[in-house]
Amino acid sequence: MSVNDDLPHVLILPEDDANRQLANEFHQWVPWHRQRQMQVLRVARGWNKVLKLFESVHVAEMRRCGYRLMVLLIDFDGSEERLVEAKATIPVDLADRVFILGAWSEPEALRQAKLGSYETIGKAMAEDCREGTDTIWGHDLLKHNASELDRLREQVRPILFLPN
């Protein structure tokens, strides 16, 4: 088995290779006995393909599996409309179980902003998620995620980080 369908779990659908690396490094800092409650999926190759894949495959699967949460990891490419556009593809009945996160431009910009390697950034994101802090999520290139992050913390943090 991969993730356990009978337990709450989180699937991450990354847009590209850089987002995959961030998600992987985040995953590595989830406590080992919770790691199987998270799965990083194969890259979709483009933010619009993330949405298409979500609609064509994951909507049905999420309806089948009530314990499943999904994070769509996309680049915002500096567009304020991206979140609205992406949210429009999420059916109302799944809206509270789907989260859309990503770098304001692209993950490479995070490295260029001297936030460190993808390893360091992924680790810092996991630490913020575990501790409920905004050390890295408060950065200019990530702070636009605030509303989604609040929802995410409420639902994902207990699954991946908090004791039962």
């Binding site: 088995m1 356990n4 690396q21 992987n24 800092w29 080992w32 006995h33 790691q35 990083v40």
Partner: protein
């Protein structure tokens, strides 16, 4: 937190396809080696294995390397193996030393094949700690450095024997003991599940590469640290939720046989270890690696294609469990051709090995230094990744 027990340098020269080869893994708790068939990934583990076999007591040079192992048969230059590692004495369970700073151990050995010889001989050999020699050696002449109360000494040794296994260590605090034990306990794994039966007549903390002594390793690990069973059990119950327990009873007078109990609402069943599926034997091996690193580590672990025999849905979790376990102590190195395994590493932790032809040596480059257009897996499928 300081990351102890990492290989800071591994250099090989004139051995098979490795010519003036240095593996850039300093500071990396985990690393993945990728590259085409024949690019030299497994040869790196074979080179490490030569050093490990010396530490485990194989001292006859002819049992370690052959003349055919020289790169393109070039016997005019020595074949060299050099390893440097940072070890923290306290974490090696060597006693109540307090918090000792990590020390840098460096072991070099070079072999030569003079004309008219039937087998290779030792050309040079030395062990240093923080740059100070423990012993040095040129061909037959060994020089033991002055340590504590011990005077320096010089003696001759058969030049067809490695000195490291022979030189007497004074105590578990002796740098020679610490280094040799670390090197001997390094895990170099290329498991062949069909050969792993789960029987044992002895105990060991040193599994062989094919892990055919799994039963002895299991017995040795639990004899050394009974609490290791908790880690083994916790991991295995995640991958095999119907597992109830493992027993290792005596069968006959002096041998044991591993048996696993499974149960669910439908009933229960006991299975001898040998009847497990190949992938399940890999889960068992992984459980022992995780428990061993906690019980008698930090260890270095080189696993050649850990994704072999695993279901696609398990590969990512399997690799992640290993990477995580070595995150704070020890070092995990894997090779892979599997897209799922490859995608669990970042560009910063992936090394690309490349060899243009059988007449040229292996080149290694961090993946992050290469120009890869688009998706890495696609580029690997196209054969478009080159240094």
């Amino acid at each position: 937190m300081y990351h102890t027990s990492v290989i800071t340098r591994f250099y090989v020269h004139n051995f098979r396809c490795l010519q003036n080869f240095e593996l850039p893994i300093a500071g990396k708790p985990s690393a993945l080696l990728i590259g085409n068939n024949g690019s030299g990934k497994t040869t790196v583990s074979l080179a490490l294995e030569i050093l490990q076999r010396i530490a485990r007591g194989t001292n006859r040079v002819g049992d370690l390397v052959k003349s055919k192992d020289f790169f393109l048969g070039r016997t005019d230059a020595p074949m060299r193996f050099e390893i440097e590692v940072e070890l923290d004495a306290v974490e090696l369970n060597v006693g109540a030393l307090g918090i000792a700073p990590p020390r840098t151990y460096a072991y070099d050995i070079a072999f030569e094949f003079p004309e008219g010889f039937k087998e290779l001989r030792v050309f040079e050999e030395k062990l240093t700690v923080d740059g100070k020699p423990v012993f040095t050696r040129e061909r037959a002449q060994v020089h033991l450095a002055k340590t504590g109360q011990e005077k320096e000494a010089k003696f001759l040794i058969d030049w067809h024997l490695a000195a490291l296994p022979i030189i007497q260590q004074q105590s578990p605090q002796d740098p020679l003991f610490i280094f040799k034990q670390w090197l001997a306990r390094m895990l170099i794994l290329r498991p062949i599940p069909s050969l792993i039966l789960g029987d044992s007549k002895e105990e060991t903390l040193e599994p062989n590469p094919q892990v055919t002594n799994f039963g002895a390793w299991f017995s040795g690990l639990l004899a050394y640290a009974p609490s290791a069973y908790t880690r083994i059990d916790e991991y295995l119950k995640q991958v095999m939720p119907d597992l109830k327990g493992i027993t290792n009873p005596f069968v006959g007078t002096d041998s044991r046989r591993l048996v696993l109990q499974f149960s669910n609402r439908q009933g229960s069943v006991s299975l001898p270890f040998e009847d497990l599926a190949d992938g399940e034997k890999c889960f068992m091996t992984c459980a022992l690696v995780l428990a061993a690193n906690e019980a008698y580590g930090p260890l270095a672990c080189f696993w050649d294609e850990p994704d072999n025999y695993l279901a696609l849905s398990e590969v990512g979790h399997f690799v992640l469990a290993l990477r995580t376990a070595f995150q704070s102590a020890g070092q995990f190195i894997a090779t892979s051709h599997n897209p799922e395994a490859i995608s669990r590493f970042s560009d910063e932790t992936t090394l690309f090995l490349y060899r243009k032809s059988h007449l040229e040596p292996t080149i290694v480059r961090p993946l992050g230094d290469l120009q890869v257009n688009g998706d890495l897996i696609d580029a690997l499928v196209r054969g478009d990744v080159e240094p």
